[in-house]
Amino acid sequence: MQSGSFQHPYIPNTPADREEMLKVIGVSSAEELFRDIPQGYSAPSLDIPQALPEMDLLRELQALGDENRHADQGPFFLGAGAYRHYIPAVVQAIVNRGEFLTAYTPYQPEVSQGTLQAAYEFQTMVGQILDMDVANAGMYDGASSFAEGALMACRIKRRYKVAYLDTVSPDYIDVLKTYTLPQGIEIYPVTANSTNLKRETACIVAQSPNFYGYIEPLENLIETAHSLDALAVIATDPFASVLFRPPGSYGADIVTAEGQPLGVPVSFGGPYVGLFTCKKEYVRQLPGRIVGKTVDSNIRTAYVLTLQTREQHIRREKATSNICTSTALIGLMTTVYSAILGKEGIKEVAQLCYQKSHYAASLIQQIPGYSLPLDGVFFQEFVVECPRSPSEINETLASKGIIGGLDISDRIHNGMLICVTEVNTRVEIEALVQALSDIGK
């Protein structure tokens, strides 16, 4: 196709517009504008399929979507860090508004008060749900938020060792390694009963509910950390924090969480939003964006990005993090969701998750050959020890239209991690139980 002969709907310039503009610029062709590209390198071949009209594109992607088996197509029991919850219609309607969707990071506060006030609401609700003093405006996801929590503790304490509990999600530990090891930080495992830590430990990091879904008794470990002048960085789940005493109430200094459960589609793993909170004395060591309330020159209430001297565009290599673009829109989703659910609705959802998952667990452990190998209190996810390999069992379940739990037999003998939330009906739960029972025979 010749230059200028292609009128794409996303590009307003017509050949006549281009001609007129090139004349003003003082060149004879668009190619001349690229004359600084060294010889032999310009206008390479580009092996990308030709343009697809919108109607065909939609068909193509619908067909690709049909090749997936999504979580609402039948009984579904996977969690392990991404959780299905019902998303009220209001949430998508608000985040689809172009004024939110297509704005940039609010560098010009005079024309960004919508994004900024929504972020202040986000910080408010995250602080309330996780029961901590201050929250930032969000991180990429729960795992990177957790890793940045460990980095922040190292900055505060100027120490470079991190003790982690081995019940933390292995995916989170992988991210923790990616973030900490290059900075010369040593990470090492401890148990919840440890009464000592290595010298120069900056923090203990843990997760509750842990990878297996169980509330982790952390009081003693946090006390040990504090007695050695180390901090406690705890990852949690927003709904677990609604039902159970949140980690801040027993001393956590930095609390992080995956925000996805609060109204964000599972979307094959992202985009999500990392919640990040801390005690107020550490506010100036926070990574990421923070929105504060102030006034304008007419003394009207207004909101603005603040404490920016922590950030990369000012501090460069001395910044508290390299974060620039984060996940403001997903933060907005969780904010609208929390507002719609409200004080009572959010407790009801947490209760439903607890009730339904415990109902499922109570039935499964009665099936001959199946047991719950872990002690303690779980929230909405639990481990089942199966009579055979979970991958085999999942194959059979799938043939019956059921997606079973996650195979964690690499960590627990024949272990399957099963998640039940408010969207699972009693009929679905009993279908799973029946199928497991049939397989066990």
């Binding site: 504008l33 997936n68 209001v90 969707l101 996801d141 290059p182 506010v283």
Partner: protein, 491 residues
């Protein structure tokens, strides 16, 4: 423009202040299972304060908030280095297809082939556009792509027994994320000065490279919106010294189908899908920052990557980990909802469309330059690429700063350009029009800029007091930082 509250101004009460006990926004179904006993009350939470508001209140509140924003959908948004182009609506539709948006990340691969196919194809397209060997889509933003890139450079040197290579060179015009990412990767950073033509100072570069060199991080075109004319020699100097070349893809919109960075010898480049590939910026994310690498860095790619295996004419896609992967950057596979939008965008444009984007982005920027250079200073007298860096030096003599001009533009109905970046240009105003804007819009913007230049001479105090027509006027930012008020508190 925005609805006003009872006080007759634009202030919208916070949700906690709108709360009336008993109101609610949704009813959840009652439990359909037999009651299960709760654990020891000592484990349970007692107090939780959240808003109690009705559904219409929530909708009106957030809708009114949205109307306080400028956005691509409502305004020309020429924020330099941010590539604020049109975000096609079809991309939001395809991302919301149930088979995609309700797909759980731990779904067995055989039940997620459609999604994996999208990822595999996007990897291939990005490798092709950049001229690289392979791509990982795992990084969730540009800055995380940078982190991935520098970690790969580090891993590469360590694997070669060169762990003493700890120096990362970065031009003084670079984005702040570059040095911040290098520091997170454990590197020491040194700045390379720019010469009088806006190019990297080659002499200075040659003096800085040595046996401790890990690599160089550069943006092409540079953050001055200029093509680095010595780029071939720069890559050569760095490679001969044993360093690797990192490309910050922030300015990729200038070179789609015009130049492949891999052909120049770049070793790794990150691509901001929320810039060049039109995924909505969302008021500060989500984005995605895939990394494309040359052959020698393929073993170090962050996990996961998607591979294709063809068995008896049937293609199977699966997630794999590279041999010496730098590891995981997030809990799952990257920001899939962003990736699928970028995929749809590339499919919508095709090879010719992508080329045309860069042509028009560069035409539009040069048109602005040609028509504004009489009224505003330009540091370097040469053609620009997709963005133009103006300077308010001349206006500053009348006491009008770049900031004032930026604020005044808001009154004229345009979002401000990027201000005070790059740091090496005095009173910088960096304007990036993108290919999405029509000549009529550019002309209206030029008229506004020319009017402001005149105002700066005749009525400078008016410009200094701007904006006047926005929901709020200039903010007391010092107060915000001095007395941090970061959330609602009960009175």
């Amino acid at each position: 423009m925005a609805a006003k509250n009872d006080k007759g101004n634009n202030e919208l009460s916070l949700l906690m202040d709108q709360t009336v006990v008993g109101r609610r926004g949704i009813i959840m179904p009652a439990s359909d299972v037999p009651v299960q006993p709760l654990p020891d009350p000592g484990l349970l939470r007692e107090n939780l304060d959240l808003p109690e508001v009705s559904q219409p209140q929530v909708v009106r509140y957030f809708t009114q908030l949205s109307q306080l924003n400028y956005s691509i959908d409502t305004h020309f948004y020429p924020l330099g280095s941010c590539t604020m182009k049109y975000n096609p609506k079809i991309n939001d539709v395809v991302a919301a297809i149930p088979g995609m948006s309700y797909l759980h990340p731990k779904t067995p691969e055989k039940f997620s082939q459609g999604a994996l196919k999208v990822m595999y194809r996007l990897q291939s397209y990005l490798s092709e556009v950049t001229g690289m060997s392979a791509t990982s889509l795992a990084s969730m933003a540009g800055a995380q792509g940078e982190l991935a890139g520098v970690l790969m450079i580090r891993a590469y040197h360590e694997r070669n027994g060169d762990s003493h290579r700890k120096l990362m060179l970065i031009p003084d015009s670079a984005h702040g994320t570059n040095p911040a990412s290098a520091a997170m990767g454990g590197f020491a950073v040194k700045a390379i000065p720019s010469d009088s033509n806006g190019n990297m100072d080659l002499g200075a570069l040659k003096e800085l490279v040595g046996s401790d060199l890990a690599g160089i991080m550069l943006t092409l075109p540079s953050t001055l919106g200029l093509f680095e004319t010595d780029i071939v020699e720069i890559c050569d100097v760095v490679h001969k010294a044993g360093g690797l070349v990192y490309g910050d893809g922030a300015n990729m919109n200038a070179i789609l189908g015009q130049l492949k960075l891999g052909d120049l010898g770049f070793d790794v480049v990150h691509i901001n899908l929320h810039k060049t590939f039109s995924t909505p910026h969302g008021g500060g994310g989500p984005g995605a920052g895939p990394v494309s690498v040359a052959e020698r860095l393929v073993p170090f790619l962050p996990l996961p990557t998607v591979v294709e295996k063809v068995d008896q004419d049937v293609a199977q896609y699966s997630l794999v980990k590279s041999d010496h992967s730098i590891g995981r950057l997030g809990a799952f596979h990257g920001n899939f909802g962003v990736l699928i939008r970028a995929y749809a965008y590339i499919r919508s444009l095709g090879a010719d469309g992508l080329r045309q984007i860069s042509r028009d982005a560069v035409i539009n920027a040069n048109y602005l330059l040609a028509r504004l250079k009489e009224s505003y200073d330009v540091s370097y007298d040469r053609l620009c690429m997709h963005e133009v860096v103006l300077s308010a030096r001349r206006q500053k003599k009348n006491g009008v700063r770049g900031l004032d001009i930026a604020k005044r533009l808001l009154d004229y109905g345009f979002h401000a350009p990027t201000m005070y970046f790059p740091l090496i240009v005095d009173e910088a105003l960096m304007v990036e029009p993108t290919e999405s804007e029509s000549k009529e819009t550019l002309d209206a913007f030029i008229d506004a800029m020319l009017a402001i230049a005149t105002e700066s001479e005749n009525i400078p105090e008016t410009v200094r007091g701007a904006p006047y027509s926005t929901p709020v006027s200039r903010l007391d930012e010092a107060k915000a930082a001095r007395e941090p008020d970061l959330r609602w508190q009960s009175r």
